[in-house]
Subunit: 374 residues, 4 copies
């Protein structure tokens, strides 16, 4: 039997979207117990969340610094679920104290910070995980393995949309709620909104599935939401190693869309299509044969994706989704925390790559949509 780990959380109070996801994902597979937390800078909210989670007052901290210092010997890892501007400082201190870290994306506000964190983690031999959600989904892992196997041939073209309509659900005649406020605030979010918030998912997904690297980026950014000073829509071209071309759209003003991640990868032998909103399926298309629709956890999936059934809880025909993807990342991360090697979850390297992508995209947009190398 595997002993459950112990963890603490920073951020994730009432109103947080991602905090509950982390907690539910960890509970789903019974991986770890939440034993301490610093959930909000608002004292009342902090205490109320701690109580509702059954955290004792002694282990409820107003300051995350106190949390890290006093709990460092009692916990196996921390989960960082705060707004973007504090990721770096918290992760840095935690790693420095020898605490393993699961940090929400983006890892930091700048590439330099991300590289710094990567170095500290390496030096301290600590695990740094970043839950790029979609790479935790079984059919995305199957897509990656299909590409690796050569089934698609040489990859020539990638088309990726990540379209949300979230900024169209805001009533701009009223004060913004907390979450949207920090998303549009350069002080909290850093120099980018949509590229840093969801563009990084796109960039990671492309490199994860194709096993190629982004060489250079050309980005055309816009701010369409009223009063928004940051980018909320982007059209991005990329060149990958090996000569493949990418067309990517990321948007928060894609009215009526929910979480529309649609990935198409075209090789010279076959292509694949994966749509997050139907993420239990993966379609592969051929020039000379019928389309094939693969279903998560069907008996034949193990042959396509080595280890598939370990990333799935229930049979084909039922849905696993967002929470299960997080749980998959946590399962791999916790195994690494226990000392197991070669587990499949995004870490410091992916955090750095995606920050390189963000900086190149911002620079390209600034310099009249010219190509910028990563």
């Amino acid at each position: 039997m595997k002993k459950r780990l112990k963890y603490a959380m920073v951020g994730g109070a009432e109103g947080s979207f991602i905090g509950p996801i982390h907690r539910e994902a960890i509970r789903l597979d019974d991986l770890a117990d939440l034993v301490a937390g610093s959930f909000s800078r608002d004292e009342k909210q902090n205490i109320s969340m701690a109580q509702s989670l059954g955290i004792s007052p002694q282990r409820t901290y107003f300051s995350w610094e106190d949390l890290l210092e006093r709990e460092k010997s009692n916990i196996d890892f921390i989960a960082i679920c705060t707004p973007n501007d504090s990721h770096y400082a918290i992760a840095k201190k935690a790693l420095g104290l020898g605490i393993n870290v699961m940090c929400e994306k983006p890892l930091s506000l700048s590439l330099k910070e991300a590289e710094d964190l990567g170095k500290i983690a390496k030096d301290r031999k600590k695990i740094l995980g970043i839950p790029f959600t979609y790479a935790g989904m079984p059919m995305v892992k199957a897509a990656r393995d299909l590409v690796k196997s050569g089934e698609l041939g040489k990859i020539c073209k990638v088309v990726l949309e990540y379209s949300q309509g979230s900024f169209r659900k805001i009533d701009f005649t009223k004060p913004l709620d907390k979450r949207n406020k920090w998303k549009m605030d350069p002080k909290k979010s850093g120099p980018s909104c949509v590229v840093a918030d969801i563009g990084v998912h796109g960039a990671h997904l492309i490199e994860y599935v194709t096993n190629l690297k982004i060489k250079e980026v050309l980005a055309d950014l816009s701010s369409f939401a009223p009063g928004n000073r940051l980018d909320d829509d982007a059209s991005i071209l990329m060149h990958l190693t090996g000569g493949a071309k990418v067309s990517m759209v990321v948007s928060k003003i894609a009215t009526g869309e929910e979480n529309g991640v649609r990935l198409r990868v075209y090789g010279d032998k076959a292509s694949l299509y994966w749509n997050q909103e139907e993420n239990n399926y993966l379609t592969v298309k051929y020039p000379f044969g019928p389309d094939r629709v693969y279903k998560r956890n069907a008996p034949y999936m193990e042959a396509v994706h080595n280890g598939h059934k370990n990333f799935s809880r229930i049979p084909a025909g039922h849905h696993e989704g967002f929470i299960e993807a997080f749980a998959n990342h946590y399962r791999e991360f916790c195994a690494a925390v226990r000392g197991e090697k070669n587990r499949d979850f995004p870490g410091a390297g992916e955090g750095i790559r995606t920050m390189k992508f963000v900086e190149a995209a911002l620079l390209s947009n600034k310099l009249k949509n010219t190509w910028q190398k990563l």
Copy 2:
């Protein structure tokens, strides 16, 4: 803060499909702690499962009778995840000892037993829940509320398919695995396989969504899987109160299907379509306007389904599914265990109705596919 409840489980060892679902569903929302169990009649498997779940040896029981007697004061409820033939005995004893029960469907092997359990639960004022999965899904609840609101007008016709291909995934040249063996064995499963196993889901779903009652049933059952002595395919007609007609198909030999629950309800003003494999969506169709596709947990859903957001954890555009549906049932059940009234989960009444349906269907098939009243 709500204190977590304590529960014990009977059944649900290695190889069980439904045991882990119950445990994960309860953990997902942190509703209760598993403190004791009797997971298998195989001693080794029982101990191994208990260990992997962190249950102490003292609270690991070889006999479920011992479990119930010794733990009755320490637990808030038990979850029954055994094969069908033991549901009745375990539930009866538990209720008799004053323990609340969540019991897998079908509630029993006969209508008489189900009625008996209903009576005991009532007499002992104990909660008896049955997790008919699909009624736990938010868009099914929305469908029910849309019908209730009159949006569809008077219901005239219902078409329901529940098609699985599970019996086509079996290699019949080899000995059957445990789970399929008991599904095809009248001693373990009672007089019906497909009707009792998934037909009850269909019958429940129809009554739940339409708010009408099944009056009479005409069933044409078959056994197509090699060596199967029980029904594995059924074509069923029904008459509902109010004059609506039903055509229902349930099958375990629907080759290539996974868990194909497709429900169409036609009123005289509009119709609805819900497909379990895309269960986060609900389509309503009109004669004089465009189809409308509703999305789980979209901002407007609360207006359609009162309380919608309480049954959802994550925003529209992501998936919730099977485990979340179970978690919804458990959330309501646990609230009832705490003494809250009018919670939305299937109980003894639904268990009895569905057993009436099973008996009528079997009788109809025996009597040359004639109408049999419920």
Copy 3:
């Protein structure tokens, strides 16, 4: 070069749905010239339609009897597009005069009449065609060939829905339009509305695709539309030769549906799914491999369906549909008229089979939903 044939039409004036379809289908492939007609019993409408089609006044007939007698030597065939009650008389006279006939379904109001027409056609060695639309669609032909090839194994179950909402688009507070009036009138339509009108498509499709025969039928018919004296909704069970079971729904009160023909055929090795509203695709599902989606006129289709490309005009990725299906039937019919053997279109045999089905269904409904042999 193939010389174009000459034909006359009976029925098909302004307001007819099916008349223009026949004319467009014939023109699409330039198969025949319309040279004479008797389009309506309303003299004004008859003349106006003839003029708009460029038919000379000398060849525009008020009486179809006159048309047949005077044109019998000048035309290769007639197309009968009148209401159901006159099909028999017109077809009988035409065949008797030695004219080939394409007659809308249902072939007649009774089985006896259908058998009579079959006999006359045979005796006179004339071609009698009935354009059961869906059998003219390339992917339905591919489905049939896949079944024939053994790809699905032994057929066990068929589920067919043919659901229209047409009777929900009627404003019953106003007088009915001509077309709906005759559809609900036993004098014009015969003893059945929905079973004779679209149920016959379903029955034909099942026999065509499975290559099995309907042995017996159990039908539960209803009349839901206000004031309708004929059946407008039916739930029908069938037993096929070879032991396969069928569940079929046909309806004109399926609110919000357009022309929802959905066919599922389950064999013991694989199953197929075809949906008329996406009729350029055909899905085949397997227990141990990914679903396969075949696309009309893709390069590999010829290997699946011998002669596929002859029934298709444009490449995969574009749509062919209703008119093209009619054109396919006419192309085969015209080839037969020219004397070619073994062409693939429904004829007298199919007309008789489907009338047997109608009579058995009506009798079953009358005799308390009991099984009736065909």
Copy 4:
């Protein structure tokens, strides 16, 4: 009654994809009779096609110049279905002789030529039509009208994919067939393959639906097919009047795709989605209400798209597609030829706009993917 027109065709012999489409589209609605032709530069093929179409030898021309000169008084228009390199010369001569012209896209090999043709048509008061297919589809017209009505609010973003896998269906180890040979040959096709061949459809569709103009273009072109000297894949960014941004992909190396035209238009109030492969449907998405799926020729469509039913032949639930779209263009074109004003079909203006787009895209690609104005 409308008298049928008379027309001649240049190009469109055996092996031509588009020639038969023009002929079938014209026949479908019985608009005009084909009376003369010059179908191929191969004399045998020319004669054989003429014979199979019933064209007399006297009106079968080896030289299109002869055809135009001798038939100019006998025909109402010509249809030009030759490879791209001869469009200009034929159209120029025809217009100069006072013959109306329907010319396949692209109108010419250069912008200058297109402008020249526009000028001649205007000077000679002749009709010049270009059948940009998708604008002939009823649901595209409905999309345009929805945008015009303000239903989507201010247009901010457009995402368009036009992805074909045609160049992946070629066996490059063998000599290319005629059609693919000229598509990859700069002498026949001009300086562009994919941008000129299908990119123009995309550019036209965007301007048609949004009612905005393309201001500037940034294009990244590739040649992935073995030995191809022209572009076969393009990622294109655009800026529209009014500030909207576009991301467009056009490709002939999109393995496994057939004719994947997918258009998404995002306004600040709603968005629309149209997919050519399901072209009878149009989805409109809202932030605060369910998605709406409109169906071609449903009763409510006339309220959305003024004149909708005139562009449709059959009811919702059946398919109209490629041929019907061409027929719609021809119906409008023929009306214009008869002297009717303000008909809805693409003409010289659209031909010129799309050639401007092609030239800007090519220049952008040449000049390191910089913005180029139209």
